[in-house]
Amino acid sequence: MSHYVEELREIYISLLRCINCRVCSVGGRTKKYTGIGCPMYSRFKFLSHSPTGIILSARNLVEGIIRPSPELMEILSYCTACGYCVEGCWNILMLAARPLIDHVKILELLRAVCVEAGALKISALVKTLDYMRKYGNPFGVSRKDERLMWMRDLGFRIKLLPKQKASILLYMGSMYTLEPLLRDTCQSIVELLDAVSVDFGILENERDDGLLALQVGERELFREIAEENIEIFNDLGVEAIVTPDPHAYNAFKEYYPQVGKIEPKVLHITEYIEQLIKEGKIKLGEIREIVTYHDPCNLGRRAGIYEPPRNVINAIKGIELREMERSKESAWCCGAGGGVVFAHPDFMNWVAQQRIKEAELTGASTLVTACPWCEYSFKQAIETMRSPLKIKNIVELAKEAHLKTG
């Protein structure tokens, strides 16, 4: 028997604890959040396409009622791993300080079982994993220098590690460095850091963080990537790793420790910028704008970082932050996570459109976020919807405000 099934068997009792209340799937009023839950269930309305269904499928797999199959993998591939279900489950059970059932971890295990059994037949995901194996990124970009293309038009030079030395490693992540739609954001990030004289550098040969491989079900590949990255990070001699990508942040903080220890401390860019603002290194001018903030799942629910981005926004004079109905723990997903961006772009677009509609209801002119995957899916969605909403990364906003100080 697959050792992933064995891992599921070990948590079998917790699978039985699911009482099928379905707050994970359809939402409800609980101690911290209100809202309507799982994107996958909201779209398909089949029990199987819900967190309850994920638990049931895991049970059925352990009990031998079903086997890993392309049909099962097809269902699982629609989950964005947003973690809304985990938050809902935790809240509905009211008393727990920690979730009893982590649906996302169960999903990852189920996908791993399917991938190991050769049940992954979704060509986009097969291709993505192949690219990660071959080129170290999910986009199939073979030339290493292409990862540095976004730096071309910069008016200054960025240190390239490990050839050069710096105290901060800015780990950009594959999405920022390789997605043309996000080049402006990349540049804003480094421009802001350079403007306030942060001693930072990026990796000359940056490799993907590997979380995508793990979430799609290729755990061995994740392990290899993680081992390699940990070794590189620890040899750099940097004080901290700062990343603008919450997926990378979540990978380093939550998943890498199972493989090895990263010596430098790891920060998300919003935490770092908040720190720089507090230290008076970043000064912010005035921007007269109404904005709303979208909590990226990997930064919010999965890492508990809700306040730093809000503190950064609120530090900008003249800006009005209006919360969406579903925010923080109950934030609706952007739709791009868990490999959905590659496997089901139409579904991703549907999920993102729901969020755009919600953002529009606040009356904000700009939707601010702090994740490249969210930025990407929202930019796609506003194009489909022809929405007047602007999408900005929080660092872009901070840079704009900084420039206003003259």
């Binding site: 009023r29 199987s48 049970r59 059925n60 509905i92 727990a96 300080a97």
Partner: protein
């Protein structure tokens, strides 16, 4: 006709996104329990060939049209009511369901009429969804301690069914699609099952008959229900007692006092460790409850567990005042101490918050009970319904049997809801499982055997007083034992066929089957091909069973069949 043909026709008709024959999808529906805890060894009792999630009445009509054309069987279901809608009353039968109709996608609130105080909703509308809307108007609808995600229609309908109370009066009427595809609207009345017929004397009106058993006669697509303005005043009172016996007596006395005047009062007596509720991580709970269960009932030190009851009063200013006064008098008579809200909040913060929010303020949170027990570990429940006058005797019998036969001092709680006359109560026994999770299969077998044995004893003693129709676990445990004894013959279990036969026999004794021929005739007249939930007649009508076996809609384990069917 092969499945591919009719599934394709369903897809063409409804749209492929509303139809699935993906085995992984089917497996989820086939193995779903309700929100009640289910033992890990629960046998899989359904064979499902296709699942549809209709969105409109047209979709439902199309499903029925195709089911008629190919003579397919249908089971309608919605949110947490899956288990109740499932029609497989006894072991030995495995229904073959061609189309499982999940109505969750029909989730529109059609109308909220404040002037006339009613709402019209589709079956998939949840308490949370409707509650949010009603709150805007200062109205509410009863949810009780059920999940906010539950279907309003299903919960209210079946709550009326299970506890024949005024709750059923929340329902004003249904829109139902009959097996011939026609859409009808019924008058009011909750969805009933069989015992409704023997609690309500004959003659039964036709409209009522249909509205009382739509799972037999059609698929409900809309439901009109009563909504209520928020009460002028809502209060909650908690009373603590020195011992369980006093709490029980006071609860019964309260129930009797308020029985006839339609008060909206609810008492709950808990017999669990006080500290169990204090630790957010529930680490103490395990320790306390395990400690408690292994002591004989007479050896549990005073103060070890907490006895309290609570009551909610809704109504006009003076009416509530008078009832609270009366409740206080009853409590004092039994030496109860009124616990101030602040004290209650300090002592049992989570219970307090939940009770206040759901019962007094009608917020749609999940009941404390479900949260507590699920959180505290794996629990097996044995749920019994009876009249409030009999319940204390059953409780005493149960505690004695568990202790004498198995050395377990069972934690349990009993509720005496009384929102009108003829209100039965229920008792839930809770047994932990996770302490023995390392040897789970053996423990599950042991547990199932134990439950079956205790249950048998209770049924022997009290079968005239227990509402067997409500005992959902009746057939499951027996079948679990059978299945496990086959897998692990070394484990000593009672002989399954005789257990089942005995239970079924007792069940039959309780039910007046005189109406069955009438129902059968109506069912066959309306639904000649028996497409809609034919298994609902299963345990009562041998000719149906034989027909269904012939039609390939039942797989059977011959030795478990009731004798009249076997013959």
């Amino acid at each position: 006709m092969t499945r591919e043909v009719w599934v394709k026709e369903l897809e063409d008709s409804l749209g492929s996104e509303k139809v699935s024959d993906n085995p992984a999808v089917l497996a989820c529906y086939a193995t779903l329990g309700s929100w009640d805890r289910r033992p890990s060894t629960m046998p899989r009792t359904k064979i499902i060939k296709c699942v549809c999630v209709p969105e409109t009445v047209d979709d439902v009509q199309n499903i029925i049209r195709i089911a008629n054309k190919y003579k397919l069987s249908i089971v309608p279901a919605v949110t947490d009511m899956m288990e109740r809608w499932r029609a497989a009353p006894f072991s030995g039968f495995k229904p073959v369901i061609d189309i499982w109709v999940d109505l969750s996608r029909m989730d529109k609130i059609i109308e909220i009429n404040i002037e006339e105080a009613y709402a019209v909703v589709e079956p998939g509308v949840s308490f949370y969804q409707l509650g949010q809307e009603l709150e805007k108007h200062g109205y509410w609808v009863s949810c009780g301690s059920y999940p906010p995600t539950a279907s309003v229609f299903a919960r209210l309908s079946f709550f009326g069914q299970n506890l024949p109370t005024r709750i059923g009066d929340w329902i004003l009427g249904y829109e139902i699609v009959l097996p011939d595809g026609s859409v009808r609207r019924t008058q009011g009345g909750e969805v009933g099952r069989w015992f409704r017929f023997h609690t309500n004397p004959f003659p039964i009106r036709m409209a009522e008959l249909i509205s009382m058993a739509p799972q037999l006669f059609g698929i409900i697509t809309k439901c009109a229900l009563v909504i209520r303005p928020k009460f002028e005043r809502s209060e909650i009172m908690f009373v603590g007692f020195k011992d369980y016996e006093s709490a029980l007596k006071a609860t019964t006395a309260t129930a009797r006092r308020f029985l006839q005047d339609g008060s909206f009062v609810w008492n709950w007596v808990a017999m669990l460790a006080k500290e169990a509720f204090l630790d957010p991580n529930f680490e103490k709970t395990s320790e306390y409850i395990l400690h408690y269960t292994t002591r004989p009932p007479w050896d549990v030190p005073q103060g070890f567990y907490y006895n309290y009851m609570w009551a909610v009063f809704h109504g006009g200013e003076r009416e509530v005042e008078a009832r609270m006064k009366e409740f206080e008098d009853i409590s004092k008579h039994f030496k109860g101490k009124i616990i101030a809200e602040r004290e209650m909040e300090d002592t049992l913060p989570y219970t307090y918050r939940d009770v206040i929010e759901s019962e007094r303020d009608h917020k749609y949170g999940l009941g404390a009970t479900i949260g507590h027990f699920a959180q505290a570990g794996g629990w097996f429940s044995l749920l019994l319904f009876s009249r409030h006058t009999v319940m204390p005797k059953i409780e005493q019998f149960l505690v004695r049997k568990f202790w004498e036969d198995y050395g377990i001092n069972v934690p349990y709680y009993s509720e005496r809801p009384h929102m009108g006359a003829h209100q039965p109560c229920y008792l839930r026994v809770l047994l932990r499982t996770d302490a023995l999770e390392e040897i789970d299969p053996i423990y599950a077998t042991y547990h199932n055997t134990m439950i079956a044995s205790i249950l048998r004893s209770i049924l022997k003693e009290f079968h005239k007083d227990i509402f067997l129709d409500n005992f959902v676990g009746l057939w499951q445990y027996a079948e679990s034992i059978k299945a496990l004894s086959e897998i692990m013959p070394e484990i000593k279990v009672p002989d399954p066929p005789s257990d089942v036969a005995e239970l079924i026999k007792l069940a039959y004794e309780r039910v007046n089957v005189s109406f069955v021929p009438i129902i059968s005739k109506i069912k066959r007249a309306l639904d000649p091909d028996l497409i809609i939930s034919p298994w609902s007649l299963l345990s009562y009508e041998p000719s149906f069973i034989k027909d269904l076996i012939k039609m390939g809609r039942l797989q059977v384990i011959p030795e478990l069949l009731p004798p009249e069917v076997r013959g």
